[in-house]
């Protein structure tokens, strides 16, 4: 894997937050006297993605992991904090040029390709928009090369998306993402809509491409087994907050945060060791009205008074960063 001499992280999030306005329409608010309502989907997330690594963000639905992905690629502006790419604030005026160095792969292979476009035009779109090549002949050659790179044949470019299976469409998506020569790929649940055998094909392809092209991945997933397979480092999110960040091996061997432990316990036990899967009580609270203090305290077996009132900050625990009072106070044993 080519490692950049520069030790600066490729992507850095500093206390990033994002609010969504989920208020009723203006007229209803006036008539019903309802207040404006904000949903904090991402709340004070700080993280760094190093060059050449795969950082995975995991969490249950509604934890804000997909919103983080969209904040980084600029689909939403951040409400608080800042996002840097290669040391440059993405909100600064000159940052537009940096955007072409990152691309995104989406979850639903049936929705992420324009059904009215031929595959060759879909794959060539970044090349044309970014004006990377002058002649159409070069573009066609590059598209053919890209299609072969992701395991399709050049002739597939003439077809329309509906002629392909889910896995093949995801390959087309990857070819499109690669066509602008990005360094950084944000992958939002790229395999969760696929069958396991197809998922294996796509994961292997992504690993292979990462090694060949020296790509950096931010990999969003709810599937811990997939994450343990592909990630170098893992961030665990709960209700918009990052509760634990650690090296993948470390996290799966020694989860620290009670929520991480709960998630790992909930993984179906394929090895059939007879270890009972501990069903966790309770459900994710309403994000419109998150609990005070630590967001996880209503479900946490180790919560005390401090957890209910004071929000924990991310503090180093070994090689990991954990936001948990019980861990910092040493109340929790491994």
């Amino acid at each position: 894997m080519p490692i950049d001499r520069d030790n600066r992280p490729l992507v850095r999030l500093i206390a990033v937050g994002r609010d969504f306005d989920v208020s009723r329409p203006w007229l209803n608010r006036v008539l019903e006297g309802a207040p404006r309502q904000l949903l904090r989907a991402v709340d004070g997330v700080s993280l760094e993605v190093q060059r050449g690594e795969t950082l995975a963000l995991v969490g249950e639905s509604g934890c804000g992991k997909s919103t983080v992905a969209r904040l980084i690629v600029g689909l939403y502006p951040a409400s608080q904090g800042r996002i840097e790419f290669d040391g440059v604030d993405l909100a600064s005026p000159g940052a537009f040029a940096l955007r072409r160095r990152m691309q995104m792969i989406f979850q639903d292979p049936y929705a992420s390709l324009n059904p009215r476009w031929r595959v060759r035009d879909i794959v060539a779109e970044p090349i044309r928009v970014l004006k990377l090549m002058a002649s159409e002949r070069e573009v066609a050659a590059r598209v053919a090369e890209l299609l072969q790179q992701v395991g399709l044949v050049a002739d597939d470019g003439e077809k329309y998306p509906h002629e392909f299976s889910g896995g093949q469409r995801q390959r087309i998506s990857i070819a499109r993402a690669l066509s602008g020569n990005p360094e950084f790929l944000v992958c939002d649940e790229p395999t969760s809509a696929l069958d396991v055998s197809v998922q294996a094909q796509i994961l292997n392809l992504m690993t292979d491409l990462q090694q060949r092209l020296g790509l950096t991945y931010l990999f969003i997933s709810h599937n811990l087994a997939v994450v343990s397979h592909i990630a170098d480092r893992v961030g665990v999110m709960y209700l918009g907050r990052l509760v634990e960040t650690a090296a993948a091996d470390d996290l799966f061997a020694r989860p620290r945060h009670p929520y991480t432990r709960m998630l790992l316990d909930a993984i179906p036990d394929l090895e059939m060791t007879g270890k009972p899967r501990t069903p966790v009580a309770g459900e994710v609270p309403n994000p419109l009205d998150p609990p005070a203090g630590c967001a996880f305290h209503p479900r946490c077996p180790h919560a005390n008074e401090r957890c209910r009132s004071e929000r924990p900050q991310a503090i180093a625990s070994g090689s990991a960063l954990v936001a948990c009072h019980a861990v910092t106070e040493g109340r929790l044993q491994d």
Partner: protein, 336 residues
């Protein structure tokens, strides 16, 4: 094994379309014993959901059962008129689907739907039906059911809704429950709750469950036996431990190998190593055939790493291999 509760023999389900007939289920045979949990796994298009739909008589026209038979408690149910089938459905066979919202009527409270189902199938007074509804809600783990019984489905969260659907499926004390991807729409932590619940209820009530899912993990935790489907056919059936740890059919082997495993089992000491070496996942080349173009011979032959001449022309039947039954020519000459 005791006399099977449900027996499906050589089931064939076809969907005529203008681009040819789609054979969604092609000669599938399986049996479920009373109180048993049979897992049915397969990838999309394998025909597992259609098999479940055929059993409860809900194949949407123009789809039809073209051949084979389905026997429930010895009685043939695949040719029953709609009304009679409707009475069996709900009373003797319950159903749980992936999306709990589609199984619940948004216009009625949970209590109304439960009591209505109970009254339709059991001879009890309305008061007794309501009491039973409350008991059911408590049994599926809904906290403070007295306060929740008069709520509408939209007032429940996804996991709670799926619990209500399970209560509804159990309302008439059926002998068999067809559960089609009951946990797929739920988060992992909720999934574990629902699986534990399903397992406990099946055991307590002696209800047999046909658990249809694409998630091998769910099967591993819940099922007694598992049937692996591919392109409308059953590739392998056997006790769940055998199928997972010693798969015989090349498709099952490939399927098991392609599931990512959590690298270091949680709690294993010293597993955190510095250098990560990523071993590629085992991968089955190619894709499932289209249902109007299933290859000759063994349906899996174009993707099979171990195929030989016979696989291209002759279709293998299920034969006993150890504890499993496998449809593969590799085992044709073994003594039964």
């Amino acid at each position: 094994m005791s006399a099977p509760l449900l027996e499906v023999r050589d089931l064939r389900v076809e969907f005529p379309t203008r681009r040819g007939t789609l054979v969604a289920v092609d000669g599938a045979s399986l049996a479920i014993a009373p109180g048993e949990v049979l897992g049915v796994v397969g990838e999309s298009g394998a025909g597992k959901s259609i098999t479940g739909m055929a059993i409860i008589g809900l194949i949407e026209p123009p789809g039809r059962i073209a051949a084979g038979e389905i026997r429930f408690e010895g009685e043939r149910i695949d040719r029953l008129p709609y009304e009679q089938m409707r009475r069996i459905r709900g009373r003797r066979i319950g159903a749980i689907f992936q999306d709990p919202l589609t199984s619940l009527n948004p216009l009625f409270t949970v209590g109304e739907q439960l009591t209505e189902t109970i009254l339709a199938h059991l001879e009890v007074t309305p008061a007794a039906a309501r009491a039973r509804a409350l008991a059911l809600l408590a049994e599926v783990g809904i906290p403070a059911p007295e306060g929740r019984i008069d709520h509408y489905p939209h007032q429940f969260s996804g996991g709670m809704r799926q619990r209500v659907v399970i209560a509804l499926a159990l309302a008439a004390e059926p002998r068999l429950i067809i559960a089609d991807e009951p946990t797929t729409a739920l988060d992992v932590s909720i999934q574990a709750q629902i699986i534990a619940l399903l397992k406990r209820l099946a055991r307590d009530h002696g209800t047999a469950v046909m658990l249809i899912t694409h998630d091998m993990g769910v099967i591993a935790e819940t099922a007694d036996r598992v049937a692996v489907m591919y392109a409308g056919r059953i590739a392998e059936v056997g006790p769940v431990r055998e199928v997972i740890h010693a798969p015989r059919h090349p498709y099952t082997t490939g399927l098991m190998g392609s599931i990512p495993k959590v690298a270091a089992p949680h709690g294993a000491p010293g597993a955190a190593s510095a250098g990560r070496k990523r071993v590629p996942l085992a991968q089955i080349e190619g894709a499932m055939p289209r249902l109007n173009a299933i290859p000759q011979g063994c349906a899996f032959n174009p993707r099979c790493p171990r195929r030989f001449d016979r696989c291209l022309t002759e279709r293998p039947e299920l034969v006993a291999v150890g504890t499993n039954h496998v449809a593969c020519w590799l085992y044709a000459d073994r003594p039964r």
